[in-house]
Symmetry: C2
Subunit: 288 residues, 2 copies
């Protein structure tokens, strides 16, 4: 069983908890829709790299995926980005209706913490910093993390004076905060010492920016291949992106630089960091 | 300082955490808008009654109020109940817009767990069941608790075959679950033994139903005094309520019975339960 399969199996198992059947369907529609499982993989891999037990990181990893998924469902709502599609399928509210999609998102966010807290007693003896890891995830998801990023992103739509510092701040929070929380939580579920935690934090910060730049670049390429409605919608939103602010070539150079810094940050782990280095390389090259 | 003042002061202090200023305003608009502070008061009072330290229950109590507030903000959104007013003021989305209200709600839910988890290390030595209490709150707020209740409430709007069992199930979850979680969390932050926890659970269950029946009765009385738009909106939703299903007189008798059962449940606490008995009496008489 690969780690991605372990994560999917654990998500499926958690989703067997008691809840209304139709709510379960709406949550599973988005949670089990595939996706790269990037955040849970970062968490599991950081735990393994720092000598921890994979089982200890699994509830934290699943919570990260639930939080990420809730943010996508709420982001797609008509009052937010108004996206009709996600991962090639109709978005949650197009299938279940707006009110139910709102509640499916609320449900996933609540369930993330329910899972982490309910599983705590099982894991805290092996991983004394288990609850500290859950707190890190809460902060990454929260009002100075992901929610702050979404708030600022909205506030700066169609803001002609938005600058590079604003763009960096938005994405550091919107994407970077939960990614960084994922690797830190993994390190805490493992046996990372202070120096290793510092290295994980630096990796998370640079990898988060790399991921966002390449995401923006993929969107540009997507738009170039797309016509009509989708393009019109994106243009109407006038999102602040790296290519929009710096151009495509400069954005690619910035991505390369962030990839280099992310890999440099992994030096303390030596050969144990191979998964993280491969991930960084794959993330960088997905735009070329 | 009264306990209500302590709760408000603690909420104000937590809200000084780092976050975007405009997001803070939107969250504070609803969180610090007054309200009875019922859930946090239940939590603090249960902690005090069972010999705990008030400070230990304070982050749990504040989290309960944040969760309750997020649920009101999301409930008022156009895609849900579409309420323009809350507590006599324009609802959150009427002031800040739908997208920002959605995020203010997401922010409050996330912040509730951030506060409980970040404060944990301070309290767990005094209250070893602190994280268990946080888990209880997560379950009360979650997909088999409050979110399930909201889901089922929506699903049964305009359902002519909805029956008494459905009504009870909806309100046990929508209102009762977080109220019961509040008293249980207070008992865990205190020194409640198994028999006392059982008594608190029984009190929570009956008090929750009492609270919902009286809330429904107040709405009926409100409607009788109201004209035009508000009444039209309520009628359009055709909410499943106690008075709608049983009539006003029978609902009042049911409220009396639940109040009696709630007070009976408090017997093991003897005179220490005076706050809970007064609350029950006040809640019952608010409808007469």
């Amino acid at each position: 069983m690969t780690n991605v399969e372990r994560i999917t199996a654990a998500l499926q198992a958690y989703m067997k908890a008691e809840m209304p059947e139709e709510l379960r369907k709406a949550m599973e529609y988005s949670l089990l829709a595939g996706g790269k499982r990037l955040r849970p993989m970062l968490c599991l891999s950081a735990c393994e790299m720092t000598g921890g037990q994979l089982e200890t990181a699994l509830p934290l990893a699943c919570a990260l995926e639930m939080i990420h998924t809730y943010s996508l469902i709420h982001d797609d709502l008509p009052c937010m980005d108004d996206d009709d599609f996600r991962r090639g399928r109709p978005s949650n509210h197009k299938v279940f209706g707006e009110a139910n999609a709102l509640l499916a998102g609320d449900g996933l966010l609540s369930f993330a913490f329910e899972v982490m807290l309910s599983e705590g007693p099982k894991h805290v003896a092996v991983a004394p910093r288990y609850y500290e890891a859950a707190a890190e995830i809460a902060r990454g998801a929260g009002v100075n993390g992901m929610v702050a990023g979404q708030w600022k992103d909205l506030a700066n739509e169609k803001n002609p004076s938005a600058d590079a510092a604003t763009l960096t701040d938005i994405h550091t929070r919107k994407t970077g905060a939960l990614i960084t929380a994922a690797v830190l939580a993994g390190g805490m579920a493992g046996k990372a010492d202070a120096a290793e935690m510092k290295a994980l934090r630096a990796f998370g910060a640079h990898f988060g920016v790399l991921f966002q730049i390449t995401d923006d670049l993929l969107d540009v390429e997507g738009d170039e291949k797309t016509v009509g409605k989708t393009l019109g919608k994106d243009a109407a939103h006038e999102k602040l992106t790296y290519p929009a602010l710096y151009g495509v070539s400069a954005s690619r150079r910035m991505a390369e630089e962030e990839a280099r810094l992310a890999e440099d940050a992994l030096a303390p782990f030596g050969e144990r960091a191979v998964w993280f280095i491969e991930l960084t390389e794959q993330t960088l090259t997905r735009t070329f």
